[in-house]
């Protein structure tokens, strides 16, 4: 098998006394879509933030194409350009228009020509159904629109890997779909992605591999069919059962009778 794009080796992270990530090993190959699921507080988001060196790690190593990601490294900004990140709360820059938001980093950081980036930005906006919104400010957009702009902004840097941190968690249900569709499209194009989500149907549809994280440990790392049909661990079974409404219903009936 080819060398992985991203490799986490024995990554450990503490917040004070709390161990949030406990000896995590994970490798991601070109074109793979990894979905990380798990109960809240299990370290999913922290894992993504560590990959982007927004959080320091206390043990282990993270490599992107054999280059070590180190929060103190001088080349950190260079590495971060290759990692696109989309946040739950969109984090568009409120003082800039949609187009300026997208063009800012490619022109300032990568020193690309403004016209060229603008054209690319408009083409990408067209692909996510937002052509005509390039002059709007973030507060004039709906949550789903903002999140699509945030995805375009990340894409415009030509990252090698995309990280999605619960990008639909703050959205109204009818907007979740439009964002997930964009992500499904990206997956179909062969993008390498790591997605943290609570949308189980989506996870099943998009993932090449599912990582089940609990208590800062990788409990399962397997194909979605296996994970959703026959999870190996009891914790994973319990976790999945929370999404099963017929189970809830039978419990309600039991209680009421």
């Amino acid at each position: 098998m080819a060398e992985p794009i991203l490799a986490l080796k024995n990554v450990t992270k503490h917040f004070g006394e709390n161990t949030v990530l406990d000896d995590i090993d994970l490798s991601v190959h070109q074109g793979e879509v990894i979905v990380i699921v798990g109960p809240s507080g299990c370290g999913k988001s922290t894992l993504l933030r560590c990959v982007n060196a927004l959080e320091p790690i206390q043990g282990g190593e993270i490599y992107l194409n054999d280059e070590k990601i180190d929060i103190k490294s001088k080349k950190l900004a260079n590495l971060r350009q290759k990692i696109g990140m989309v946040f739950q709360s969109y984090e568009l820059f409120p003082h800039l228009t949609v187009l300026e938001n997208i063009v800012l980093a490619p022109t300032k950081v990568q020193k690309r020509k403004k016209e060229e980036v603008q054209q690319e930005a408009l083409a990408l906006l067209g692909r996510v159904g937002l052509l005509g919104k390039e002059g709007s400010y973030a507060r004039q957009l709906s949550g789903g629109q903002k999140q699509r702009v945030a995805i375009v902004r990340a894409l415009c840097m030509h990252p090698e890997i995309l990280l999605f941190d619960e990008v639909t968690a703050a959205l109204d249900p009818e907007m979740v779909r439009e964002v997930l569709d964009v992500m499904l499209n990206l997956a179909a194009q062969g993008r390498t992605m790591i997605i943290v989500t609570h949308e189980m149907q989506f996870a099943k549809a998009v993932a090449d591999r599912i990582i089940f994280l609990d208590g800062g440990k990788v409990l399962e790392d397997t194909k979605p069919e296996v994970f959703f049909e026959a999870p190996k661990t009891e914790r994973a079974r319990q976790f999945l059962s929370m999404f099963e409404f017929n189970v809830v219903k039978s419990q309600v009936e039991k209680v009421s009778s």
Partner: protein, 194 residues
């Protein structure tokens, strides 16, 4: 002049506090407390009568500028600091995750937002400092108040002179005040509420 230096001084102090520069951070907070908790008049006397004692020769005008800068610097620093703190740290993270350097993050993402938040406090400070110039007469600097007192002494027209004094302060300060609220409204229109 004094106000310009105050703005610069305030900006530098706010940056030092924002980036938590060791040692300097302490110096800045001592300065801010010292300058905010003493009246301008006392500061002026200190500079005007104190500095020559340790061998620094000054004139009234330089003392006026220095006093205004010393007092204003801390108020401006607080205005900038509140603006910087109003920008969510995840905005910084978002900029960093796009590969921006710390400098770029500050210049293109944090500062524009911080400044538009601090504009109201900023304009209020400018007006406050302008009004404070009225104590300059105490160190025999020709400000409005001093001129008015002069005129009262010359012509004994106390009521008229004092009335004109009020009018002149208004003439100087009203445009700044109006400019401030216009600026505020425009900035509010252009930003925020994501």
């Amino acid at each position: 002049m004094g106000i310009t230096i105050a703005i610069l001084l305030g900006f530098i102090c706010a940056m030092i506090q924002y980036y938590k520069v060791p040692i300097l951070k302490r110096v800045v907070s001592v300065y801010i407390e010292l300058s905010r908790n003493t009246p301008l008049l006392v500061q002026l006397f200190f500079i005007y009568y104190g500095l020559p004692k340790i061998g620094i020769q000054t004139n009234a005008e330089i003392c006026g500028i220095a006093g205004l800068a010393f007092l204003g610097g801390s108020y401006m620093a607080e205005a900038f600091r509140s603006g910087l703190e109003a920008v969510d740290s995840i905005q910084t993270e978002s900029a960093l995750s796009l590969g921006m350097s710390n400098y770029q993050t500050m210049a293109y993402v944090v500062l524009p937002q911080a400044i538009s938040v601090s504009i109201p406090a900023f304009m209020a400070n400018i007006i406050f400092l302008m009004k404070e110039t009225s104590v300059f007469s105490a160190i025999s600097l020709m400000d409005l108040m001093f001129t008015a007192k002069d005129l009262i002494g010359l012509y004994y027209k106390t009521t008229e002179s004092l009335f004109l004094l009020v009018v002149f302060y208004l003439i100087i300060l009203l445009p700044i005040s109006i400019l401030g609220s216009l600026l505020e409204r425009r900035l509010r229109h252009a930003g925020f509420g994501s």
